[in-house]
Symmetry: D2
Subunit: 358 residues, 4 copies
Amino acid sequence: MVNSEKSGLPMVDEQSEGRFLVVEVSGPNYTGLKRSALENDLDFLWRDTGYATFGLTTSDHINAMAWAAAQSGVLRVWRQESEAVLSGRTWRPSDTIIQVGDAAIGGNGVAVIAGPCSVEDKSQMMEVAACLRETGASWLRGGAFKPRTSPYRFQGLGRKGLEYLKLASEEYGLPVVTEVMSIEEIEVVCEHSDVLQVGSRNAQNFPLLKALGSSGKPVLLKRGFGCFIDELLHAAEYLMSYGNPQVLVCERGIRSHEPSSRFTFDINAIPVLKSATHLPVVADTAHGTGNVDLVGPIAKAAIAAGADALMFEIHPHPALSYSDADQTLSLEQFAALMPEMAAVAGAVGRRLDGTDRA
Amino acid sequence: MVNSEKSGLPMVDEQSEGRFLVVEVSGPNYTGLKRSALENDLDFLWRDTGYATFGLTTSDHINAMAWAAAQSGVLRVWRQESEAVLSGRTWRPSDTIIQVGDAAIGGNGVAVIAGPCSVEDKSQMMEVAACLRETGASWLRGGAFKPRTSPYRFQGLGRKGLEYLKLASEEYGLPVVTEVMSIEEIEVVCEHSDVLQVGSRNAQNFPLLKALGSSGKPVLLKRGFGCFIDELLHAAEYLMSYGNPQVLVCERGIRSHEPSSRFTFDINAIPVLKSATHLPVVADTAHGTGNVDLVGPIAKAAIAAGADALMFEIHPHPALSYSDADQTLSLEQFAALMPEMAAVAGAVGRRLDGTDRA
Amino acid sequence: MVNSEKSGLPMVDEQSEGRFLVVEVSGPNYTGLKRSALENDLDFLWRDTGYATFGLTTSDHINAMAWAAAQSGVLRVWRQESEAVLSGRTWRPSDTIIQVGDAAIGGNGVAVIAGPCSVEDKSQMMEVAACLRETGASWLRGGAFKPRTSPYRFQGLGRKGLEYLKLASEEYGLPVVTEVMSIEEIEVVCEHSDVLQVGSRNAQNFPLLKALGSSGKPVLLKRGFGCFIDELLHAAEYLMSYGNPQVLVCERGIRSHEPSSRFTFDINAIPVLKSATHLPVVADTAHGTGNVDLVGPIAKAAIAAGADALMFEIHPHPALSYSDADQTLSLEQFAALMPEMAAVAGAVGRRLDGTDRA
Amino acid sequence: MVNSEKSGLPMVDEQSEGRFLVVEVSGPNYTGLKRSALENDLDFLWRDTGYATFGLTTSDHINAMAWAAAQSGVLRVWRQESEAVLSGRTWRPSDTIIQVGDAAIGGNGVAVIAGPCSVEDKSQMMEVAACLRETGASWLRGGAFKPRTSPYRFQGLGRKGLEYLKLASEEYGLPVVTEVMSIEEIEVVCEHSDVLQVGSRNAQNFPLLKALGSSGKPVLLKRGFGCFIDELLHAAEYLMSYGNPQVLVCERGIRSHEPSSRFTFDINAIPVLKSATHLPVVADTAHGTGNVDLVGPIAKAAIAAGADALMFEIHPHPALSYSDADQTLSLEQFAALMPEMAAVAGAVGRRLDGTDRA
């Protein structure tokens, strides 16, 4: 690495490796850069990012780096394996922290996000929120707009559900995470929640991701169950390159050949993501297992592997829940699991949400 | 089966099997039916379909069928394995045919849908359309709104691309198939095309599917590459239960562990779908292989297995195409493949598009 | 459950569930039982097990259980989901412990099995064994007969490798785990090692499993990377029903669509196996990740999820190792990981091998 | 390509691509070549093949090829993507044909291999063989040694089954294909059959493959259901490099996430294999589908995609068969399918077994 901040020459990381060349520029000279790239047989990627960063591919990296360093307005040049730039650790080495009021995800703490799969009524939400407050969990979740495989299943309470979420949130001082399924819903969901969730089935809904780029709220982005980890990072890149730096990435189980659990929780994804991206990494223990008996062991495993936050589905009466009953913990089961998870968090040098209060 | 059309008693198919009980009713008595279902411990599925058809689950099917037959206004009662009703062969045994002008998909013929991955300019589209006309292929495709994994890649020409598609369509008399990625785009895409395509990454974008239920245009629905065949049928059910009976379902390759091809074309899905649904079954030979050397063999295999239509990516200069170059045939390769496919279609008692003209 | 030990009537567990009916009998009346089963339309499974236990399938479980309880010589009747009987928790509820000298796998402790992928020479093995002794790891592993994907790759030192293993074992008091690939090798491997390993590629080599049923040595059985968890239990059932009660089952990663790690470690399999079987559950952190950067996080995750033992590939000079260099820890990396794992083991109420010594 | 046959200089294919360098040598100078390779930092693969062919890996292919061409005794130098040499098309461009008496697999014809999953008794085999003779199918199959997932299921008649196979073979003049599961069985299976089958669960049983290298009989090698296509070629390479040039490779379905069929038939594998290897490519339509309703469509698809032979499970009374009833055709279903397949074979310019007789 030639550190050239003082000299005015671009910083060129010659040790970096990977199929993509990234060039950070200071000013609006994209057109000239593009023309020069084409003349040098470099594969210019389509658009600037608003962050004055873009990428190139070439097989002759040494010449390509030299070319890039010689262009005017260039601040920094490096290579990386993924095309995703803003979500990568080279662009930003230090961990991103998502903060809402006193609650944070991404620092030394391990955050807990819990609530019912579907918001059903006000008393349910109040009971759940009270449980969170008691156990020390910091983030309330619940689905108001529900992506259901069948059109004949409960599709969520919609705006009414958002109102119950907000009531519980305000009563117990818990920030809210809830799903948004379409561009039309963004405004109303923003009014009622603190973090917008993009579900597994919308993990590559690019118009939605672009629109959420300017939502002004943090986005919790789930991996598509058929997607590569790299595709999760590219989805995050859509959000970031369209203006939203506050992104959380979430492993929620992939489809494999194994039939004994609904999905296969990809535990390898936790350290792979922690190494590849500065964004907080969330583990969804409900969908990742599909089975309440597996939730506790997988939650502890995810903490041990380095997750920054955990998601749970909990309900006062799991058997009566409108959706996902098989993977939903009772409030008692959840309360009993919290100190077990706190012990594992402590063993890896971190502190679980609410450990000081509980 | 007790055929009771004359007697006024409901038709009850006692030989039917499966986890779901379907009850077709004549009038607006859902509320009473729901109350009675709950009293009989039956799992009432959420909404009526506009077709006076809905489903129930129960473990005691004999009593459940008897209960259903005794309700007022009931026309027909049967069981089936999938929750998808309107897309199933029990609800509608005979094949659905999608017709646009003279072109049809779903009857005895095997249709060919071809065109570039991305619409790039007017001359490209005219050249491609002329090739289709000459070879006898009936449907023109091309992407104007492109779902790209990376935000830095070419995202399509948008409205301009739609205009080129329509020009080529009108000049050569070929109906157009093109992708719609969001609710906002539906109107403009409808103005310029004949069949709306929903891509693999939107295969479970339920708000989009609901909105397309009232689009008035046929929808070509691709299977999500991580989805079950049954989930493809459920996605079709969203379209149908929201009012659109003109649906085509498309196998386009799934993610497996095999790295030698980009996706694994699930040939088993062709006969599975033909048996389960009355909707036309389309085979996408480009994404299903990701490799131009495999396109011909897989296209012929799909015809032999029973596909009603085939999709191809073709381009006057594949190496220069803006996207998917590896799986794109040249016009010469495509023209050479047409008679080979016609021979296989003939061997299974069908006729390929344009066989009489070519 | 009707406990009838005193009355002489069979114990019939009426609360049990699953597709298989298991009948434990006291004497050699298989023929009569089989004839009676056939007369009652029950699906008699093929052979007795030497343990006077066998299974039946039927759809009318209530009558089948009554029939079974009425047969002469019957001690116990229950249903279970898997056809695997002897490996199941109903047949034997309490944990099996595998003991070699002072070392044990399957009790409260968490055992550590470490060594090079391939045995290369004597000094390598001595250096590795010394490291185990210092760090407190109890079990020495190393491959002498190597199953290599290509015939052109190093196939192991064979008998010479076994001798080096035994020398190191005796010098440092560490029991040896090593792979056996064929029936011909069983005798010589038994002479030189304490636990016989069956690799992923032989996970359904049934003649080998049958022959190992009478080997008299514990068998560490890896899951095939394309196999269901239930198939791993069936493979264990081969070993057990052919006479070997000392079996360890090992999760070692499955093939999925994700390309960023060589295999996907199926963390869900750990609690699924702990619940289904009384056999010790081992986690192979080397093959499960294929990447030295993932080994530590996944090892800690496996402990948190309930694994009874962990396997590692370690080498004095990983870059020079004859095989699997990418997933092999240096001795320093391994020594540094041990206390980190001990902390996680402590957090879930267990003690890592050598924690009291280290 | 420098063709230098006359000049005495080695043939060096400079246009070839891939990660492996192959050097064909005329005499026993391996030791010198190995020493020289090590001095030039080339990765020498472990053993010579008996065919005086071996491979090297290096990142500097130009220098490596020059080095290789300069060694004494070198006949030919090329690169290829897979480490598998003898099974590759570069080593042998023209198709291998397996011939037993009048029956052949691998030429212009499409061969049909049919018979019961398990040999059950003499009359069953005679009835099946008579059906083959009538329909024109040329190869008789049947399992005598059965690899069953559970030890409690029918394990095959063993030697008795082989005798029934041979009787039927001799009576009707049909060569026999049957499975061998262990080294111990090779001799007796060789005495009773013409082609030895290696099943999916032994696809990477390397000691068995090595032993079959000197069996003197053709080997039909199935792909492991969790294996890469490249691993199938490596398994073939074990057989070939240990002395057996008569190998058939068989696609039989892979494990995917799709639950509607027992396995997912990887149709892409047919053209991938035809391009990569000169060995005949067989399609197992029974295991590839697991469902009798899919067998016909997939058989026709496999022919259209380029398969050289098809395998079927057929039985006089499928519902009574000892194993695999769900994927077994009746003799009538099989006889009806033959002319349908013949039509597809004709459409791709080939002739199905027995087409001239039937």
